[in-house]
């Protein structure tokens, strides 16, 4: 078979899976008065379609911010506006101001699902394919296999096509940024990532590596010559992109402040629901939420986040290669997820994107992480009635990872890429033993995941501890994430700076 047909088979498999998952229910289906994220997205279409731009982020008689008020940056709002226009063409009742609240119908569900599919086809799929063809190593078959695995990552599919959100848009824009920087089209990369930031403020999790990578590139070219020129060009691109996105709001500083206030709702607390991050897990032991004041919490989380991303960022600054960049993206976004303020369980998709990109180099670890990340959202998925697609897509992903990427049968050196650290470890553990250890823990963790999933579905929690299973799931996932953060930091920081390995990974 030709390569183009292999690629199209991959793309079609990805699309088929997505559409098949979309048959299931969505968040808040038939649950008035608040419904869920599905209604939030529909409501944004209603608001942006009917109200002038200046009122989008303000509480007015026509715009009750208490009911799914717009709290994403302008680009999301424009996207909603576009969808709103299409919706109006098909059925005006879908976006009628006020009366459309809580509108649900089979046709509307179909429309909403189609908008997600369109966004995916237009920007996410091309980015993944481009990345795999141009920026990943190996034979063409290996590249296609990697693409297939990335496209079938269950977490993103379940949240976008089950729960309902447009995560693939912001992630795709980031991926375009990565592809741009990887191919040396720095301005395109900067443009794409600026758009991503303007689509979803959570993309800040990725911002420091982007900044360090670009700055590192400039420094490498010499800050007094071509590097400076590049820096100016990049800064201009970013500024112009931001200015264009924020254009309608720039007339009035009050407006900007209100939008910013909506984007960073500090008063919503350290964490929401059950998140597999440090604060939520720590809360099981110490009630930090009540113990510390809001400002202390804010400061503490900020300090810890900064502290945990500094080493990887500095390393990237001194060695701006694509491999380092990808590792830094993982480390930074994972650190944000674990330590920052006001994190959602769905934010795990942000570290999941760069981990997807490592599926070729570190198959076992990547597959492991991605499975855990999907598992960490289990309570949410169960609430939305997505048990079946969760089970099927996770099993399929595990099987694909093990079969196509042969995640389980690679030598430990290759498998873990620990470099010098690995040599030191060899004093204690032989090669064979290390590989065995990793595989055993992988299996144990899989079994535990399966067991916990099963019990969450089948067993009733004891009356005294109604949140027992969600807490168990999040603590279990948290421990994995913490270990992964350490591991990925280790990989990044111990990578030797010899030219040979640079060539290999670049």
């Amino acid at each position: 078979m030709e390569n183009w047909s292999l690629v199209s088979v991959c793309v079609l498999l990805g699309l088929t899976t997505r559409w098949a998952v979309s048959f299931s229910s969505y968040s808040g289906a038939g649950k008035p008065p608040m419904f869920g994220d599905y209604e939030a997205q529909r409501h944004w279409q209603e608001v942006t379609y009917n109200l002038p731009v200046q009122e989008w982020y303000f509480n007015t008689t026509d715009n009750d911010l208490g009911y799914w008020g717009l709290d994403y940056p302008p680009l999301t709002a424009y996207h909603s506006l576009l969808c709103g226009h299409v919706a109006k063409l098909i059925n005006p009742a879908w976006v009628e101001l006020r009366t459309s609240r809580g509108f649900e119908s089979a046709a509307h569900k179909l429309f909403m699902r189609t908008t997600v599919l369109f966004a995916d086809i237009l920007i996410y799929f091309p980015a993944v394919i481009l990345y795999c063809i141009y920026l990943s190593d190996g034979s063409s078959k290996r590249k296609v296999a990697t693409a297939l695995c990335i496209l079938l990552y269950p977490g993103l599919i379940l949240i976008d096509y089950g729960h309902f959100q447009y995560n693939s848009v912001s992630l795709a824009l980031t991926l375009w940024g990565i592809v741009g920087l990887g191919l040396g089209w720095n301005l395109l990369g900067a443009l794409a990532f600026s758009l991503a930031l303007n689509y979803k403020q959570m993309e800040l999790y990725h911002s420091l590596p982007f900044f360090c990578f670009l700055l590192g590139k400039c420094i490498k070219q010499g800050l007094m010559g071509r590097g400076l020129l590049l820096l100016v060009k990049i800064s201009l691109t970013v500024l112009v992109t931001f200015a264009l996105c924020w254009w309608p709001f720039l007339s009035d500083p009050q407006l900007i402040l209100q939008v910013l206030h909506r984007l960073f709702p500090v008063d919503r607390g350290l964490f929401e629901d059950k998140v597999a991050n440090t604060w939520c897990s720590l809360n099981v032991l110490i009630k930090i939420k009540t113990l510390l004041s809001r400002d202390t919490q804010l400061l503490l989380s900020f300090a810890l986040t900064l502290l945990s991303i500094l080493p990887s960022s500095i390393k990237l600054l001194t060695k701006p290669t694509l491999w380092q960049f990808k590792l830094a993206l993982v480390n930074s976004s994972l650190a944000f997820f674990l330590f920052s303020f006001q994190v959602h369980e769905k934010s795990i998709l942000l570290p999941a994107l760069p981990v997807c990109l490592m599926m070729n180099e570190l198959p076992l670890m990547a597959v492991w992480f991605l499975l855990i990340s999907t598992f960490s959202m289990l309570p949410l998925l169960l609430k939305d009635g997505l048990l079946l697609p969760y089970t099927v897509t996770s099993l399929a992903f595990l099987y694909l990872g093990v079969y196509l990427l042969s995640a389980l049968d690679r030598s430990p050196e290759e498998e873990l890429r620990l470099g010098s650290c690995h040599k030191r470890m060899q004093n204690y553990l032989s090669k064979h033993n290390l590989s065995l250890l990793v595989k055993c823990s992988f299996t144990v963790s899989l079994v535990a995941m399966a067991g916990l999933s099963f019990t969450s579905v089948v067993l009733e929690p004891p009356a005294r501890l109604p949140d027992l299973f969600p807490v168990l799931v999040s603590v279990f996932s948290f421990l994995h994430f913490l270990a992964m953060l350490l591991y990925f930091n280790l990989v990044q920081l111990t990578e030797p700076s010899s030219k040979k390995s640079q060539k290999k990974t670049n």
């Binding site: 078979m1 030709e2 047909s5 292999l6 199209s8 088979v9 079609l12 498999l13 699309l15 088929t16 899976t17 559409w19 098949a20 998952v21 048959f23 299931s24 089979a106 046709a107 179909l110 599919l117 078959k141 079946l388 697609p389 099927v392 897509t393 099993l395 399929a396 099987y399 079969y403 196509l404």
Partner: protein
């Protein structure tokens, strides 16, 4: 030895798992009334004594498959009771609780294991060059063409039927013939006939082949029949197997004197010439020719408008339809046409069997002949030709060419089965997936000898794209959607009928012009 064997077949397991995952994801998709048909049969066989199975008529979907299938449903019902007992109550018409849906869907997915096993046996029969890369191996291509067959996926796992299981039995029987285990093959086919009698379509091929290649043990040097080599023992063994299978199946009903009733349920001739949606066959062309002639006649004032009955042809009801210009067609005529269409092929394998491959070709012709000329044919019956033809497609270039035309048009003609907006993307995606794979892999497989299809064929197949766009996207927006809603169906079946007919003719030519393969016949 075991380890390399596992590694060698790991790709097969991956293909089987992959498609099973897709099937599981389709659990919540739309299902047709066939879902209720099978639920009703579960209830009937579970809660009534055998003597009432073929008399029960609470639901309009009475049991109209042969006894073995009823027993199959009976077996399933004993698992079903652990899911939801309510589905086993005959009076619970249209019962579809989530547990019922889950059970019924899973039962299709699990019984497909028979199909998966059969495909593996078929792949073992593939002739192929060693040391090729996996994607270019003919066994890999064959496995994908069968396991990921678009028609089976949508008919079984969306529309809802048990064809995968049934085709599994058929393919297994074919594989047994390839492996020269003829008695086993005959037994499997006899069982299959008692599971679903539609496979009578291909029975002539089986009958002649077994008689010719199994009961006669030797050929003359030129491949023709050697009368003296007849083995009565083999004939008796064969007869015993077939008769005892039928005895086990129909015996209880014969003893109770219910044979008449069972037969009347199995062959309901009260239905019309064409199904509500015309299968793409000769009669679709015949109907359209009749319509065209009548319109032409009225225009030219040769015919009197008032004489026509106003019944529209595809009003959406299964009913008898009177032709206005051309003579009407009776069941007997369709039967004669069918027999005439398959006779030359059957005769040709009698003269020169060409081994199991010749038999398979004859079987495809029988299936296609009955599809093209049969009475009240369902569009789903095209699978009976497409699936066995896959086996030939990976072995010869000409068959690959026929396969691509037949499978593309045949599968496209299944589109109207799924008419819900929600399933529109999935059917297009799955169709593209199968079509792109089959075109690119078969082209690659025979890349040494130039392109597979000529430009006219390519143009015809590409014509399906605008046809689909018009039928499903443009037409519903026009005002004709309300006055003439059946036009898209009509266009689809007429357009596809041409491709099916063309494939039939091509297959026939390949049989009749086949070189006398004396040497090969021996080696097979």
């Amino acid at each position: 030895m075991a380890a390399p064997m596992i590694a060698e077949w790991s790709w097969f397991v991956a293909l089987a798992f992959g498609v099973s995952f897709i099937k599981c994801l389709l659990l919540n998709a739309y299902h047709s009334t066939d879902f209720e048909v099978h639920r009703n049969w579960l209830a009937v066989t579970h809660s009534l004594p055998v003597s009432q199975w073929y008399y029960e008529s609470t639901s309009e979907w009475t049991l109209d498959y042969p006894p073995f299938f009823a027993w199959f449903e009976y077996g399933l019902s004993h698992v079903a009771k652990y899911f939801d007992k309510e589905m086993l109550v005959v009076q619970n018409l249209n019962y579809a609780s989530p547990a019922t849906v889950l059970f019924q869907r899973l039962s299709v997915i699990f019984t497909d294991l028979v199909f998966i096993y059969a495909v593996k046996e078929c792949c073992k029969c593939c002739r192929e060059d060693k040391g090729k890369d996996l994607l270019g191996k003919s066994s890999f291509i064959l496995a994908t063409l069968l396991l990921w067959n678009f028609g089976l996926l949508i008919v079984d796992h969306i529309h809802f039927q048990y064809n995968g299981f049934l085709f599994g039995v058929l393919l297994l029987s074919v594989a047994r013939h390839f492996q020269k285990r003829h008695l086993e093959g005959a037994l499997l086919f006899a069982v299959l006939l008692n599971l679903k009698h539609i496979y009578l379509y291909v029975a002539p091929a089986y009958g002649i082949f077994l008689l010719r290649c199994f009961c006669f043990t030797q050929n003359n040097a030129d491949g023709s029949l050697q009368w003296r080599s007849f083995s009565p023992l083999r004939l008796v063994a064969l007869g015993l197997i077939v008769l005892s299978t039928f005895a086990v199946s129909f015996g209880p009903f014969i003893v109770k004197g219910q044979l008449q009733q069972v037969i009347s349920r199995l062959f309901p001739f009260k239905r019309g010439l064409c199904h509500a949606y015309w299968a793409p066959n000769i009669w679709a062309l015949y109907n359209i020719a009749d319509k065209a002639l009548s319109i032409l006649g009225v225009k030219l004032k040769l015919l009197d408008m008032s004489k026509f009955s106003k019944a529209s042809m595809t009003g959406g009801l299964v009913q008898e339809f009177q032709h206005s210009v051309l003579p009407s067609v009776s069941p007997l005529i369709t039967l004669i046409c069918t027999l005439l269409s398959i006779l030359p092929a059957v005769f040709s394998i009698w003269r020169r069997p060409n081994g199991a491959r010749g038999f398979l070709r004859c079987m495809v012709i029988c299936a296609l002949g009955s599809f093209l000329f049969g009475w009240h044919v369902h569009e789903k019956a095209i699978l009976m030709a497409i699936l066995p033809l896959s086996l030939l497609a990976v072995e010869s270039k000409e068959d690959a060419r026929t396969f691509l035309i037949l499978s593309t048009t045949g599968h496209f003609s299944l589109f109207p089965l799924l008419f819900t907006a929600q399933e529109l993307p999935i059917k297009i995606l799955l169709m593209l997936l199968f079509t792109i794979f089959s075109f690119s892999s078969l082209t690659k497989l025979f890349s040494k000898s130039g392109p597979l299809l000529n430009s006219v064929e390519v143009a015809y197949l590409l014509g399906l794209v605008p046809l689909e766009l018009i039928c499903e996207f443009v037409y519903p927006l026009t005002s004709w959607q309300h006055t003439l809603p059946f036009i898209p169906l009509l266009l689809t079946s007429v357009y596809c009928a041409l491709g099916v007919l063309y494939s039939f003719i091509r297959l026939y030519l390949s049989v009749l012009t086949a070189p006398s393969t004396t040497g090969k016949a021996k080696s097979q």
